[in-house]
């Protein structure tokens, strides 16, 4: 293109040059014509001046006499101008007639100069001076005549020259116009052609650039020639191709990363060694597009054995095959602990792939766990897919590291599993012995509780045999009866505690329930001079077994009253707390020490010696528990205790 532009410019300049050159030559010729024309005119002027000067000099010759001052310079100048003019005229081309006339004129001028000089310089008597003067005047007159005669001839020549010069000027004008027009025409054609030649490839390139920016990587500009634009288009196409290639590379790399991520994720989720190996080999095959993979791991006995699952290799062929650790370590050391390309006839490992994967490149990749050799991978890649690259090995390293971690995880998991199992066993044993101990204690408590009335009954039964007084017999029998009843009550309560009853649920307003209980115990309240404070809030109804809950409240209120033998305040509060309805029963009694409060929900634990059975609070606790609630106790010695019962507001039955 550059060459073309230079060529065009050269042509334009050439055209200009030719036109200009012709014009300059013509101008030079014309100007020389004009110059001679001017000279002719000047000559004519000179001639006229000469005539005037001659006339002046002639007049001086008559008037001034023989003394000349500064006017002599004028005369000299005039005569010399005349001389030069005549010389110039002779120098030009003239016809012989003019040349002859001029030659004659020159001679006369010379003569005139002599005569004039002689006249001017001579100092003599008047006659001699007059003669000299006359001689000069005569020559001057002849010169005047000659000069006047030449006017006509000069005019004719002047006219001819003028016409020729005008013609030449016209020709030059036409030449210049033609040259200008031709150059403009050529310039226009060149501009149009260049514009078209430049615009076509530029438009193509713009289109290509738009295509690429729209995502059509690899788009090829359809323009080819040998100019710079052709080169640009080729470069553009190359750029487009390399962009596409780069993009595809990135995509494939991202795909590999995705598979890598997926694989490593599943590697870490797997909890069995076999699963881990499977995930790894599947992942590696997916990423590297391999024909076959064999995993070898160091077993507990130190030998390296192939571990299934395999890919592309017959599992049976590898069953019961093992490598001596020494052999493997030697290869490991020889390879510099790096991945190594293997030949098919490898002396140690050859047997793993002699039967399969013909026409494959083989790579041995080491698996390390905590910097210790844990095994290796034998990887088979079809020769058509090319050899293993650095990138492949880098990806393998990532996989290998993840594999090592996953294997460790599996081991850890299995360890943990074992530990858990053992813990559970121990726990179960513990529970069993605790159960036995509880039953033992319960049996002892029950025996003790029942032993007391039985002892009394036995004692009075013995007394009866000796008693004669009927009154006494009656009294003793009454005691025996009373004690028997007491024993029966203990047994019944024990039954009650141990019996699992089905809850008969209905919606209950706890305030009513509490009020019912308070009515029931009102004699005791009066007797103990206890003041009751009800602090009820607006609470919803709850779904409970009313009789059982009533028993809970009865137990708790009775305990409270009993804790205040000298009187006090019984405060009953209700409140909604989150998902629970809370009922608080607080007293201002003696309070419960910490060591006691920890045990108050145990069966047969009592602080009331012979007054209670030690089953009231355990039963209450169990009832609330069966309702999905709980009982909490807060107490301070000498200040009082607060029992808080939480009942669930919603109950999914």
């Amino acid at each position: 293109m550059r060459r073309k532009i230079i060529k065009y410019l050269f042509f334009i300049f050439l055209l200009f040059g030719i036109g200009g050159g012709i014009a300059i030559i013509s101008l030079t010729r014309t100007s020389s014509d004009l110059n001679s024309l001017i000279t002719l005119h000047r000559v004519e002027i000179l001639r006229q001046d000469l005539v005037i000067n001659l006339q002046t000099v002639q007049k001086h010759l008559y008037t001034i006499g023989t003394t000349f001052g500064s006017e002599l310079d004028v005369i000299v100048d005039n005569v010399q101008s005349l001389d030069r003019a005549v010389g110039k005229c002779l120098g030009c081309h003239h016809n012989p007639e003019i040349t002859r006339r001029l030659t004659r004129l020159t001679k006369y001028v010379e003569k005139y100069k002599d005569a004039l000089s002689a006249f001017i310089t001579t100092t003599a008597n008047p006659e001699r001076v007059n003669r000299l003067q006359r001689a000069a005047v005569e020559i001057g007159d002849v010169l005047l005549n000659e000069a006047n005669e030449m006017t006509f001839v000069a005019n004719q020549s002047l006219q001819e020259r003028t016409e020729r010069a005008l013609h030449d000027v016209k020709t030059i004008k036409n030449l210049l116009l033609a040259s200008l027009f031709l150059t403009m025409l050529f310039g226009f054609v060149v501009a149009a052609s260049l514009t078209r030649e430049i615009l076509t490839p530029v438009e193509e390139l713009i289109k290509g650039a738009r295509m690429i920016s729209a995502g059509k990587l690899g788009y090829k500009v359809n323009y080819m020639d040998s100019t710079e634009f052709g080169e640009l288009a080729a470069t553009f196409n190359e750029m487009s191709r390399s962009l596409k290639e780069g993009y595809e590379k990135t995509l494939s790399y991202m795909e590999k990363l995705r598979v890598l991520y997926k694989t490593t994720l599943s590697l870490h989720i797997a909890s069995e060694r076999e699963d881990v190996i499977r995930e790894m080999v599947e992942g590696i095959r997916g990423i590297l597009r391999l024909e076959g993979i064999v995993t070898m791991l160091r077993e507990d006995d130190g030998a390296f054995r192939p571990v299934p699952p395999f890919i592309g290799v017959d599992e049976d062929a590898l069953r019961d095959v093992a490598c001596e650790p020494g052999q493997v370590y030697r290869i490991y050391q020889e390879s510099g602990r790096r991945a190594v390309h293997l030949r098919r006839d490898h002396p140690v490992l050859g047997r793993f792939f002699s039967l399969s994967c013909h026409g494959c490149n083989i790579l041995l990749f080491w698996l390390r766990k905590k910097e210790e050799l844990a095994g290796c991978l034998l990887l088979f890649k079809n020769e058509k897919a090319g050899d293993f690259t650095e990138e492949d090995i880098r990806l393998l390293s990532i996989m290998g590291n993840n594999f090592a971690v996953a294997l460790e995880n599996v081991e850890l998991y299995q360890n943990l599993h074992e530990q858990m199992r053992r813990l559970k066993e121990a726990q179960e044993q513990l529970v069993q012995s605790a159960k036995l101990a509880a039953v033992g204690e319960l049996a002892a408590n029950v025996a003790h509780e029942i032993n007391n009335p039985l002892t009394t009954i036995l004692g009075y039964s013995e007394l009866l045999s000796e008693e004669e007084d009927p009154e006494n017999i009656k009294r003793d029998l009454a005691i025996i009866e009373s004690e028997s009843l007491r024993a029966r009550e203990i047994v019944q309560q024990l039954l009650e505690f141990s019996r699992k009853r089905k809850l008969e649920l209905k919606e209950v307003d706890v305030h009513d329930t509490i009020d019912g209980v308070l009515k029931l115990v009102s004699p005791n309240i009066k007797q103990s001079r206890v003041k009751v404070h009800r602090k009820y809030t607006d609470v919803p109804k709850v779904l409970v077994d009313e009789n059982q809950i009533k028993q809970v409240f009865l137990n708790l209120i009775n305990n409270a009253i009993q804790a205040m033998p000298e009187g006090g305040d019984l405060v009953i509060e209700t409140e909604t707390m989150g998902q629970y309805l809370m009922i608080a029963i607080a007293d201002t009694g003696m309070g419960i020490p910490d060591d006691v409060s920890r045990r108050i929900f145990e069966p047969f634990f009592t602080t009331k010696q012979d007054k209670g059975t030690g089953l009231g609070l355990p039963i209450s606790y169990r009832i609330v528990q069966e309702h999905g609630g709980r009982i909490e106790v807060k107490s301070r010695v000498d200040e009082g205790s607060t029992f808080r019962v939480f009942l669930p507001l919603r109950r999914d039955v």
């Binding site: 001052g69 500064s70 001389d83 002689a118 001017i120 310089t121 001579t122 100092t123 003599a124 008597n125």
Partner: protein, 303 residues
């Protein structure tokens, strides 16, 4: 009023601007004026010196103009009046100029045969029969100018030695041709029987026309007199005088200068001094004329 002002201000500026060159023109002459004496045909004399003037113009960077006088004596009278800066003087005019105009002799031209002087000669036609001073009695004599040694004082000295004290008692008519070559032509053409001039011009003419030597003969010859001495006025800047002197003396070593010298028929210039005019003073002394008292103006009065 405003319109008038508007017209006047540009006019003032216009005149101010155009007055500058004219002022400059008045402050100093921007050319050197060199005077010439009419030793030959005045037109040829001018033509002869023009190449030298052009050469000096080119070298000095100042235009050198020539002016010619119709009488030898005029150069003394008009040197200052015409504003001349220098002139080529003849033998007597040179001596007069040094004495009266206080000019400084700078250089003298050297002819092709190595001479920088000329002898005065008295010529007669061979067929005139004039061979001795006495033969001149009653003849017509053509002098050149009263202000030349060769063209006037020498024949006067010649006649004085022969015992003639007045020109009128010797010649029937005498006149002054004003230039040396005219004197030759006057004798040749028979307008005079004898004439006097300097031999260099005679020899020049003979070189151009050999027949002159056949027709004329030299009756007497003077000692050599300084010829064409170039003098400069002393109030010209010394630098300029030095420059002109060096230019003239160095012309023969300069290619362009050599060309000019050839055109003038010269071989170079030689340094000039006041002493060069000693022969002039001597011959005047012998005639009994003082330089300061000499009436150098050529007229026919008092002949």
């Amino acid at each position: 009023m405003r319109v008038l002002l508007r017209c006047l201000i540009p006019l003032c500026i216009f005149f101010f601007l155009f007055s500058i060159p004219s002022l400059r023109g008045e402050t100093g002459k921007r050319y050197l004026l060199i005077g010439l004496i009419p030793e030959r045909n005045i037109f040829r004399q001018i033509d002869r010196y023009r190449p030298l003037a052009d050469y000096l113009s080119g070298r000095l960077g100042v235009k050198v103009r020539l002016t010619i006088l119709s009488r030898y004596g005029d150069i003394i009278d008009r040197f200052s009046q015409r504003g001349m800066d220098g002139a080529f003087f003849g033998d007597l005019t040179g001596a007069l100029a040094v004495e009266l105009l206080k000019v400084e002799p700078v250089a003298r031209p050297v002819s092709l045969d190595g001479r920088s002087s000329a002898r005065g000669v008295i010529i007669v036609r061979r067929d005139s029969g004039i061979r001795k001073p006495g033969d001149l009695k009653g003849k017509v004599f053509a002098f050149v100018d009263r202000a030349t040694v060769s063209g006037y004082l020498f024949p006067l000295y010649y006649l004085r030695k022969a015992g003639f004290n007045s020109l009128k008692e010797v010649f029937s008519e005498y006149y002054f041709t004003g230039s040396h070559d005219s004197a030759v032509f006057a004798v040749l053409d028979g307008r005079a029987d004898a004439g006097s001039l300097k031999d260099t011009v005679l020899n020049d003419l003979i070189r151009k026309d050999k027949t002159i030597a056949d027709e004329l003969m030299v009756l007497a010859e003077s000692p050599p007199m300084p010829e064409g001495t170039f003098c400069l006025r002393t109030d010209l800047p010394p630098e300029m005088r030095r420059k002109i002197r060096e230019l003239l003396l160095g012309m023969k070593k300069d290619h362009e200068g050599m060309k000019v010298l050839q055109e003038m028929g010269l071989s170079g210039f030689t340094p000039a001094s006041r002493n060069d005019f000693a022969p002039v003073i001597r011959i005047m002394k012998e005639i009994g004329i003082g330089l300061k008292d000499y009436d150098y103006r050529t007229t026919l009065k008092g002949r």
